[in-house]
Amino acid sequence: MKKRVFANLLMALMVAGLFLTVSCAQKKVTSDPQSTQPSQETAPADTASDNPLKPVATGDPDVDFINLDIYFEFDSAELTGEAQALLQGKAAYIQTKSDIKVTIEGHCDERGTTEYNLALGERRARSARNFLVDLGISGSRLSFISYGEEKPADSGHNEDAWERNRRGHFELQ
């Protein structure tokens, strides 16, 4: 068990380090309307790094825990490799803070119908929760809620916005 926690911590550090190096190279952009240009018509990409509007790691674990979302493909609640790596970092963070409880929010892009997206958002939040539980986080510290398409991170109507809105978001209770 201890070994596992250690391994997770190591992983978290590595992931954080990875993001740190990335953030040095990337211009930090939060929401600059100038850059909200619709991307070329491409299939939703698996990788999150090509969307300039997604928040990037700051290196501050408290900030990153809230700011960094996990992303999903259209009509999917499956955790991508990238999402899994990020979740491992989150698990490590939660382990180090024994007094925190976390709410996982599941979100969808605006496409598709309201009710179905509520259900899909719940599946996304639940799969993130289950992954964290599998990493040893007590289920009692994790609650989840779906907002469907009701709380977009990006109000745009283009591929970039949709990609950024299909997300799992983490909040401290």
Binding site: D75, T113, Y116, L118, E122, E150, H157
Partner: protein, 444 residues
């Protein structure tokens, strides 16, 4: 109209006449349908609505006469199966020559192609407005509907729409949409609340004030209750609200409580609850007590809607790996898949006459409204213009479908079309974004 069709048309009336004369009762006529509004290739019937005759002179009467004529025109035009002939083409003016059958030279109307004529008269009697309204078949020179209404000036709209219901009943065998209402979601100051308006978008009224995310309004059959989903208490719960009294129930089991749909004619509903681990459909009493579980499958089961007889439920399930529409027979428990085309079909709505399902499909990234027969036959795409088209809901007589669309400037607004996808038009001009329309049954 071809000659053959004309003969058919006339023989129809002759039969009615016989029934009327020899059956010694007009009750039989109630069953006669002149128009089949479910026919997708329906031809619009040309109709004339001339000025109202004013039996008294005065500014108020003149104003009311104009208003009544406009209300009548707009309401009949809304049906989608009547075409109002432009007043400039009219050869006669019943406002001067008279509005009763004996006053009318029907050649004046058949001459301009009008197959139907509505005449109106208006007067004032003890501060009440009095209306004489008649519907004529011009080719047959026959009175189809004749009614007199008396009421307050402010009730002019109600009186005109009562008459339109009679016209609809005579022409289609059903009372139409005129006594129905529409519930919808609109954004207010960044929050979403439920509103209602009349069938034509008139008089929008906010009915929830949760200052939260509020979605999925559903009318009960008697239009006395609305069930909806709201985050008012922090997570999605179902609120069951009486519209006249301050009564209601909240279904707030663990997890999500969403997608309410009323059982036809009963104080009971179906909804999707996720307390068991994933969204499953349940039957509940109007007080929120579970009667039974309807679906048992891993993955999403959502958006239930009942067949008009209440014996079947149509719903969305992801059991086969993509969201598709299924029908469950509640008596035999048999479940069958209805949609096979495309990998995203959601938001089903059962037509009031029971034979078709409207739904939302995504094809090549385009979100549009489709209908399909309940055995999976004749799928038809109804929207294709532009924007995302979602949330179909049928008018109580099945002649029209209301939906939300982003076709105008990207903002979601409410639109109406015929059941065959014709006559697509915006329902109301209203600030904010409107979604989730639900059309009530007729209540008059």
């Amino acid at each position: 109209m071809t000659y053959k069709k004309l003969i058919k048309f006339y023989s129809f009336f002759i039969v009615i006449l016989f029934i009327a004369v020899f059956g010694n009762s007009f009750v039989y006529c109630q069953d006669v349908t002149i128009l089949n509004i479910n026919n997708p290739s329906i031809r619009k019937i040309p109709l004339a609505v001339p000025e109202f005759k004013q039996f008294l002179k005065g500014a108020e009467i003149e104003q009311d006469a104009k208003k009544a004529q406009n209300l009548l025109r707009d309401a009949l035009n809304f049906t989608g199966y009547l075409k109002i002939i432009n007043a400039q083409a009219y050869l006669a003016n019943p406002a001067e020559t008279g509005i009763a059958r004996k006053d009318i030279d029907f050649l004046d109307w058949t001459g301009i192609g009008a197959e139907l004529l509505v005449t109106g008269g208006i007067s004032v009697d003890n501060d009440k407005v009095k209306l004489w309204l008649r519907l004529f078949d011009t080719f047959d020179m026959r009175l189809l509907v004749g009614k007199i209404y008396t009421g307050d000036r402010k009730d002019l709209r109600i009186m005109i729409h009562r008459f339109c219901s009679e016209v609809s009943l005579k022409l289609t065998g059903q009372r139409g949409v005129f006594g129905s209402k529409i519930a919808f979601v609109s954004r207010v100051k960044g929050k979403k609340e439920i509103f209602t308006c009349e069938f034509d978008g008139f008089n929008p009224q906010q009915i929830t004030f949760h200052k939260s995310i509020t979605l999925s309004p559903a009318w009960s059959s008697d239009s006395e209750w609305i069930a909806y989903t709201s985050y008012a208490k922090g997570k999605p719960d179902i609120f069951i609200k009486n519209l006249k009294q301050k009564r209601g129930t909240i279904i707030n089991k663990e997890g999500m409580n969403i997608a309410p749909a009323w059982v036809p004619g009963e104080f009971a509903l179906a909804a999707s609850l996720s307390f068991s681990g994933d969204p499953e459909i349940y039957l509940l009493t109007g007080k929120g007590k579970i009667i039974k579980r309807v679906t048992e499958s891993r993955g999403i089961d959502i958006s239930p809607k009942f067949s008009p007889d209440g014996k079947n439920i149509v719903f969305v399930s992801r059991r086969a790996g993509s969201p598709q529409i299924y029908i469950k027979n509640l008596e035999t428990n048999n479940i069958r898949r209805l949609t096979f085309e495309g990998s995203y079909n959601t938001s089903p709505a059962w037509s009031p006459n029971g034979d078709r399902i409207a739904y939302v499909g995504i094809r090549q990234g385009r979100i549009d409204i489709y209908t399909i027969g309940i055995e999976g036959e004749f799928p038809v795409q109804l929207t294709s213009v532009a924007g995302d088209n979602e949330d179909p809901s049928w008018a109580p007589d099945g002649s029209l479908i209301i939906f939300s669309s982003t076709r105008r400037g990207g903002r979601s607004q409410l639109f109406v079309m015929t059941a065959a996808g014709g006559e697509q038009r915006r329902l109301l001009s209203f600030k904010g974004e409107q979604t989730d329309p639900d059309w009530s049954m007729v209540n008059n």
